[in-house]
Every structure is written in structure tokens, then in C-alpha cells.
Symmetry: D3
Subunit: 113 residues, 6 copies
């Protein structure tokens, strides 16, 4: 669907998408911290698709479970109980990522043996 939006010929929307991507690149702050910022911003604004995206990216950046739950807690305290349904789904996404990674790792270990 992004492809369709980008092929619409609207140059400014394309530039916005570009700015969006670059906002999370390594800089004075690490990509890991920036993805955590994106995650908590998405949680308090209550956007499931955005939360899912940043959970995946945080897992890729090596965020630990303890770090995830402390970030979730900041989002929960700032945003209140209205964020709880989104928090639940975030935890579910995180668990799915962890399960996929475990399978992936055990398969790679198996392949080496």
C-alpha cells in the first residue's frame, strides 16, 4: 500500500515518508533509543499498527524484555488506562517476535549440527 501512495505522484507525501524513515536513524541518539521513543509515542497516541512496527524494530535493536516493560510502563502512566488494550496487543506482538526468533535460532543451530 505504501508503494501505491508513493506512486501517486504526490512528491510531498513521498518526502514525508522519507523524513519518517530517517527520524529513527542512528545519530546523537542511538536507533535503539529512537525506536523506544517511537514505541512510547505510538502507545500514548494509541495506534496499534505503529506499536507493532516499533515493537518489531525494538526487537531488532536488541531491546530486552525488562527494557520493553519499563518503556511500556512510562507509556501506561503518561497515557492512562485507555492505553491498556493497546498495551495488551503490544505484549502479544512482543511475544510473537520472541517465539519467531527462538524458532529461527534453534533452526540455525540445527542446520549447523
Amino acid at each position: 500500500m505504501n508503494r501505491k501512495i508513493l506512486s501517486s505522484g504526490n512528491l510531498q507525501i513521498q518526502r514525508f515518508f522519507n523524513l519518517d524513515t530517517r527520524a529513527y536513524e542512528e545519530g546523537a541518539l542511538s536507533s535503539k533509543v529512537k525506536e523506544l521513543l517511537g514505541l512510547v509515542a505510538s502507545l500514548v497516541l494509541r495506534c496499534d499498527d505503529c506499536i507493532t512496527y516499533h515493537v518489531i524494530r525494538c526487537v531488532e535493536e536488541g531491546v530486552s524484555d525488562a527494557e520493553f516493560f519499563e518503556a511500556f510502563n512510562v507509556g501506561l502512566v503518561v497515557g492512562g488506562s485507555i492505553t491498556i488494550p493497546h498495551l495488551r496487543r503490544a505484549v502479544q506482538r512482543l511475544e510473537e517476535c520472541r517465539t519467531l526468533n527462538k524458532r529461527h535460532l534453534s533452526r540455525r543451530r540445527h542446520d549447523k549440527e
Copy 2:
């Protein structure tokens, strides 16, 4: 005013305030990162008082100007141009903190000489 709220006898509000304070304590994530999370969450939710509080706390935690502006940029991209008036005031607060700190440092240097 917090004192008045806390003296209201409503134990649950007191507990909420306690949770709010503790959410930013050093843990798996550093206080610095947590204050940045609080700052960006406050920016996308557009609350000037909360932004001011987290700008001050971030300055105390040693956040550099480059780090501030990268965090502001994440907030701006996620939250859109509607956050710009709050971003302006955030930059103004940051500048006031930096000026106060410089005066404080130059006074301390002067006292030592």
C-alpha cells in the same frame, strides 16, 4: 498545588502520583532515556507543562542539544505540525535552562577565583 491534591485524603490519587514519579527512576533503562520517553510522549500529546518538566529533567540528566533536537524531531514527525507551537516553547525552555546553567557555572567559576 500537588500538596493540596495529596492532602485531599484520596489515597489512590496519591498512589498514582507515586507511580508517576517512580516510572522515571533508573532501571533496565536509564533515567536519561526514560526522561526522553516522557518528553516525546508529552510532545505528541501536546502538554506544555509536561514538556517543560521533562526538558528540565533531561537537562539534569545531561541530554545534549543534538540529542534534544533528534528527540524533538521524532516527536514532530510522529505528531505532525500540530506539535510545532509546543516544539517552539520546548526550545525556549531548553534555552532558558542552558542560560541559567551557564550563569550558574560562571558564578561558581568566579567564586573560586
Copy 3:
């Protein structure tokens, strides 16, 4: 999923969930009024899961249809037409609750005869 969140070992999230539960307990205001407060807050913040939860709890607290629609109307006027899709789903949930209760009552009546 709550169980998973609660078993995450993050004590502060557990405490938040506890505060969330206790906010609706009978006190100076009745549970009924507090659930109505939660319902309207959920409607203006447009969270379907939260609305469903409070509709069920309001039914349990004996809120009548006339009371429901007056509360919905406050939410609609405060929150505007953007709440209408959520209002529609709220009315659907309410109807499902009423239907379930009728079946339950007619079964109990049948059992007694």
C-alpha cells in the same frame, strides 16, 4: 493477556492495574456512577475495548436504557460526530447484553417451573 502482563515482573504495571480496578469501587460515588464516568470517558477517547468493558459493567450495575442513552448523548455532544462509529458499536454491545440477560432470565424462569 493481562495475566502475561502481570507476570512480566514489572511491579509498577501491576500497581497501575490495581489502581485501575479500585477507581470504580463503591465510595463517595456509587460504582454505578463511576462506571458511567468510565463509559463516557472511553467514548470521548474513542476506545472500543474500554467502551465494551464499561457497557458490561454498567449493565451489571443496573443502568437502564434511558440512562445509557443520556450518558451516550453527553459523550456524543462533548466528543462530536467522530465518536459516532464507537457509539454505534456501544449500542450493539448494549443490545447483546440485554439479549443475553433476557435468555438467562427466561431460562431461570423455565428451570423454576
Copy 4:
């Protein structure tokens, strides 16, 4: 300013203002409960002017301090710490109302003696 809006000749805005007024009239739910609904909705949506209006109306409807703080607590838990600056100002408004009422009562008592 309402007068200016109403004299704009836009009939639909006038009708909206009328619906807004009538939403809080005594009905299946009391005006007191409806004003509390308006107060909590305004708190979670973080509108100081609306909060001030409903605090004044709640005082007129005889809402006690304990009732106020339980309603505030529901708003705080649902809406999170981002509502705290608004909660502070709400408590300040409440205190001003109570002080004015005390003065008014003591003056009336004085006039009678």
C-alpha cells in the same frame, strides 16, 4: 463571545449550542451525575475551560469534595499523568469556588444578624 457566535446567523452552530446545554438537564440521570460526566470527559480530553465550567456546575449541584476527588481519580487513571496539570488547575478552581461560597454564606449570615 458566545453572543457573537450566536449572532453570526449560522443556525446550525446555534442548534449545537442548544444541544450542548440540554445534554446536562435533569432526566433519567440527574444533572449532578451528568455534570460529573462532563467534568471527567473534559479532564481526559484536557480542556481547562471546559473543566472550569463543569467544576462550577458540579459545585452548584452539591458535589462534595470526596465525590470530586473520586471523579478526578477516575479521570486521572483513565487519562494518565498527562492530565495532572489540568487536575491541578481543577483543584484550584474547586478551592476558589469553596472559598467564594464560604464568604457568600458568612455574609448572608452576617446580614441576617
Copy 5:
């Protein structure tokens, strides 16, 4: 579901629905412009059902693709990247409308021949 809400007997909700319909009627501003206003308002408030409704209405009012994407761009810039998932679904709805219209037109052309 609207029918159920309207048959609830709550006159004020019925009046609100009426105001909602009339807000987009031809006046000093054309229906086309008003539907675009509704579309962008729905995008920045991130309500998929409302976006779908206004996309359909805008198609009926003859909004071109270039006009749609410029309106989407205003919504994206004002509301930020948090609107992107909704923008994606809006573009999908638009495409579905265009496909349906093309089929409809080619069928009508076929019938005439």
C-alpha cells in the same frame, strides 16, 4: 445500527445526527469542499469509519485523485506519521471506489451498445 440509535427515543441524539448530516450540505462552501474538510478532520483524528465515509462522499462530489492526495498531504503534515496507517486504508478505499466506478461505467457503456 443508526436506525437502532434513532429508535432509542433519545431526541437529542436524533438532533445531533441531523446536525451532522446538514453540516455537509451545499451552502456558502460547496458540498465538495465540506466533504474534504470532513475527510481531513477524520484523518487527523484517525477514525477509519469516518475516513471511509468521507472518501465515498468525496468521490461522489467529483474530487480528483490529485485533489485527494493534496488533501491527504495536509492531513499527514498536520497529524504526523501516526496518521499513516489510516492514510494507507484511505488510499485503499479510494482505489476500491475508482474500480467500482470503472466497472459501473463500462457496464453502462456495454448496455448502451
Copy 6:
């Protein structure tokens, strides 16, 4: 303050500001319609600074009072009574613009005579 933000050296924030400016330029939709879109988006998101900016720009683009109030009405119906304090301030800004313009015009007429 924009100058300070732009001199921060954060290139991406500068690019965002550029996108923000260009979103309202004449295109498939006129600047007038785009400023109305910005106005209603700002009203439903309840940002006074943004509303003021777009009211001024709409006046410059020749938006009539009747057009303003129809746009305000769309914002009011979509966003609900929580937008009323912002609507009031928007009307006040509009009136100030009209008064300034009248003075300006009468001065220019006077200069010519």
C-alpha cells in the same frame, strides 16, 4: 523562535518545516481550500496557535464570514463541544482581522483623498 529551531542544525526539522509550508501552496486544490482544511484540522485537534495562523491565512485568501462559520460548524460537529473554547477564540481572532483590515482600508482611502 522558528529561527532558533531552524538554526539548530537539525536538517530534518528544517525539512519538516519546509513540507509544512508547501502543503498549503496552490495546486490541484486552491490555497483557500487548503487553508480551510488546515483551519478545521486545527480546530478539531484544538490548537489555538494553529487556529490563529490559519484564520489569518484564510482572511488573506478571501474567505467570507459565511464560509468561515460553515467551516467552523464542520469542525464543531466533528470535534464536539470540547472545541467550543477554541471556536470562541477563533471567532475573536477573525473579528480582530476584520477590524484591522477595515482600519487599513479606511486609512488607504483617506490617503488617496
